[in-house]
Amino acid sequence: MRSGIVRTFPLFFLVLASNEVSAQSASGGSSSYFIYALIALAIVIFLYIVIQVADNLLAIEARSSNADKRGVNLGLFPGVKDIFAGKAPSYTRDAHVTVLHQGHNILLEGEAAHKLEAATGVTTYAVQPMNFRGILPIPKVVVEPGQEVKAGDELFHDKTKPEIKFVSPVSGEVVAINRGEKRAIAEVVILADKTISYRSLNAPDLQSCTRETLVNFLMESGAWPMLRQRPFDVLAEPGVVPRDIFISTFDTAPLAPDLNFVVEGKGALFQKGLDALAKLTSGAVHLGLDARSAKAPSAVFTEAAGVQKHWFSGKHPAGNVGVQIHHINPINANEKVWTLNVQDVISIGALFVEGHYNAARVVALTGAELQAPKYVQTYAGANMGELVAGNVKDGNIRLVSGDVLSGSKKSPQEFLNFSDDQVTAIGEGDYFEMFGWLLPLSLRPSVSKTFPNFLFPSYKFHADTNTHGEKRAFVVTGQYEEVLPMDIYPQHLFKAILVNDIERMEGLGIFEVIEEDVALCEFVCTSKQPLQEILRDGLDTMREEA
């Protein structure tokens, strides 16, 4: 009973402390003091046993009478965490809040202003086969350059799974099919019409249709690629019935979009999407809700029906769906769960409400190198350069699709990744810094207390891509655990991956994490190790084994 130990700890400590005080006042011989100490210890142990037994009996009673909810303290004494934890905000209505203590919020300049504009300058959109892990690198492209398509028309499919269609987010002309390394298809580019026309779909009735009908409809409509499957973060397999489906309704990554703002006025679509998802799983649809701020999250999330809600509070990565899964119901070997982004759920809902494939996306344009960080209304796979055209400051700028921790670097000619809803522009850090390791001239984000950062907890940093040091062997220990709120030993996991020890990788929980979960570990790493790359190698190895 580990929780029992935690609960009785304050009492234990009190008795110990009183023992210390009386020991100091006793000026007698040291051996007589030792006897006193032994007696005190015996009393402590006796009390401890009594409390433990009583506490366990209480817990057993609670469980048999079904009063036990997971994580609720039914013990006699408050735990350490209960004493020091702040009160949960009132909007959680006394539901259990999982408070995550490990993590770190990286505050950066360039947060998007709560102002939504149409992305008028964006003319080209692309679907990138490489965004979908688990399909062959050269899919069968069914369109040709010059061909007109409607939004929702098929562009390509995987040769091994032809039933999953990858469709166009907009209507217009296919202008290019670009190939990357080894002739893999990098992107299918569409020049969008001024007004989008849609391929209309006959959505099945959610009340009466079977799961199979629904699955076929999702694959036919083009919404299937929005479903991602864990472990490994791959495209959901049609033959799999997932144990559960998880959706995180808040993003804690640096400069991440405020999803409460994104879903404004889309409550009906979101609810419809959840209804559809509920049919796909044998378990439940789980929503991870944000209990960090004093203000309640959007009613779209808190009032959602037919789902299980879980409140989370803590620093990044508390908003990562992987972290939430770990605390709701972790993924075991041979289990499969699906995850989606909030905007994907809205798109799935739109299939049933609007009767067509709607890949509309609210994208946050963020970063210190943008003149006016803001939200824009566009479609999945918008062109990066066109999204930020006229909005970028001068200098050597890096455009990132996604956030600065787990996003991918893109040139202005490339396109937003399929599941990203954020563009970050940061400065390249290709400069030499004199004694930068010893006496840095500028403030930089860091978790280390060797920097004065802890004095300015709300300071927003102007970060760049400099590595601030060279790659080294693993030296520091315990650093990753401080920013990963999971029961996992990250450093041992990475070492198991590096030596390719499959059994150990599985035992240490590789199925429970993907790159974005360890991104913060990579950020804080003193030895500048490429942890996300190492993890992906491990995941690929495990996937081949499976």
């Binding site: 040291s30 003091y33 030792f34 100490a37 950066l108 972790p330 075991n332 041979n334 600065v404 921790l405 787990s406 996003g407 670097k409 970050t424 940061i426 390249e428 850090g429 290709d430 030499f432 810094e433 004199m434 004694f435 930068g436 390791w437 010893l438 840095p440 930089r444 860091s446 280390s448 060797t450 920097f451 970060a463 891509t465 400099n466 590595t467 601030h468 040091g469 060279e470 080294r472 062997a473 030296v475 220990t477 315990g478 655990e481 030993y489 450093q491 041992h492 035992g507 240490l508 929980g509 790159e515 991104a519 990579e522 950020f523 804080v524 790493c525 003193t526 030895s527 500048k528 490429p530």
Partner: protein, 423 residues
């Protein structure tokens, strides 16, 4: 200015193929002066400002008070032995200069030998110079006796760096603490040179009353000339060891006479402030405690190891107090922190992240066992006056085993959970 310096350094960069050693050397010093212009590729796009150089230099910074006081104490003990300037602040310049003259060669030899080997291996392996020796090189002078013959020092550093580190693959790969390995080499390879009482007080050829002092030209000619200009007191070549001086360390006194034996010679406040013979950096407790608090506050060293090591030693000390079989066992448990090098070992040796346990739970066990075993060696083994060196090296070897069980616990938990889910 900065730009010009950068341009100059870029111009003199040696060719990597033609002269690999020079290039490695150049690279080491260049990255010291300038953080390189590397940018992130794949993975995260921004990186924490912390790197290994910064980490290591903070450990070195934490030791600086120990260096200053250690230097002064070398001089103080020397003048104590010859009965001159026996009060703390009299002959301040003489004591400081004497200590400086004593410690500078030790620091220089340590770094020339250690860094030389490090540079050579970096060149052979074709990677950059890693910062491991920054801390090792700062630690070694602090744990040596002030009169250590320089050739023995050179041998021990070479042994520690080659066998202890490079043979295992360099910085971050070693199993044993490098600095302690060099100390243990001196201890076991040259026992006659480094045992007994007289090694802890510098500049004396013998301890018998009336034995002359060893002054070199840098004392008598160089510094005396300068001090005469200012009209200060000078080194006196006619000085001799005074009657009744023993030079015994508290540990030896304690082994023979218990707490009474120690307090007969040294005041408790003397033990605390470090005005006692011993290795260079280990004597001054306030300096070490300040360094330890700095390391804990900056998060550079693990507080878990430090706290659990104190707990381990305290518990073992209480057990000995209760056992009460020898005079040394009777030394009050809390006084054990004041004699010998417990605090120094705790702050700077046990907390080396590479050789310590890597899991948080493991760190508690690791520190506790060092504290307990170290005190057992100190109190019960007549052959070794101090136990922390051996206890830490012993636990270094066991740290992977501790981690193994902690990590296996995590694995077992996960497998159990999976079994429960399928059942």
């Amino acid at each position: 200015m900065k730009k010009e310096l950068l341009q100059f350094l870029k111009r003199i960069e040696p060719d990597k193929k033609k002269s690999p050693f020079l290039h490695t050397l150049y690279d080491g010093f260049f990255t010291f002066a300038f953080t390189p212009d590397h940018v992130t590729k794949g993975g995260v796009h921004i990186r924490d400002g912390m790197d290994l150089k910064r980490l290591m230099v903070h450990v070195v910074l934490a030791m600086q008070l120990c260096y200053i006081f250690g230097m002064y104490n070398i001089g103080h003990q020397h003048f104590n032995a010859i009965g001159e300037h026996t009060s703390l602040f009299s002959g301040f310049h003489l004591k400081l200069f004497y200590g400086l003259i004593q410690i500078l060669p030790i620091v220089i030899v340590t770094h020339v030998v250690g860094l030389g080997i490090e540079f050579y291996y970096a060149m052979r392996k074709g990677h950059g110079i890693e910062e491991g020796f920054l801390v090792t090189g700062a630690l070694i002078p602090l744990i040596m006796p002030p009169d250590i013959p320089l050739w023995i020092l050179a041998m021990s550093v070479a042994f520690a760096v080659i066998i202890g580190k490079e043979a295992f693959g360099g910085t971050g790969m070693n199993i044993l603490n490098i600095a302690l390995l060099s100390r243990v080499f001196v201890f076991f390879a040259y026992p006659t040179t480094i045992s007994g009482d007289y090694v802890w007080v510098s500049g004396l050829s013998d301890f018998k009353a009336g034995s002359p002092v060893d002054y070199g030209w840098w004392h008598t000619s160089f510094s005396n000339t300068i001090f005469e200009w200012f009209g200060w007191t000078t080194f006196d070549v006619k000085s001799a060891v005074v009657d009744g001086f023993t030079g015994a360390t508290p540990l030896t006194l304690g082994y023979n006479g218990g707490w009474q034996g120690i307090t007969n010679v040294y005041e408790p406040s003397q033990l605390f402030w470090g005005l006692i013979p011993g290795s260079v950096g280990e004597t001054c407790k306030p300096a070490i405690i300040a360094g330890a608090l700095f390391l804990i506050f900056t998060g550079v060293a693990s507080w878990r190891i430090m706290v659990s090591m104190v707990l381990g030693a305290a518990v073992m000390g209480m057990i000995f107090n209760a056992w009460d079989a020898t005079a040394f066992m009777d030394v009050p448990w809390h006084q054990h922190f004041m004699i010998g090098s417990f605090l120094f070992a705790m702050a700077f040796m046990a907390t080396d992240p590479v050789t310590a346990s890597s899991t948080n739970r493991g760190k508690w066990i690791y520190g506790f066992l060092i504290g307990a075993i170290g005190l057992i060696i100190r109190v019960m083994n007549p052959a070794y006056p101090e136990g922390w060196m051996l206890a830490i090296l012993f636990m270094n070897v066991f740290a992977p085993t501790i981690d193994h069980f902690v990590v296996e616990g995590n694995i077992a938990r996960r497998l159990k959970r999976a079994k429960k889910a399928t059942a």
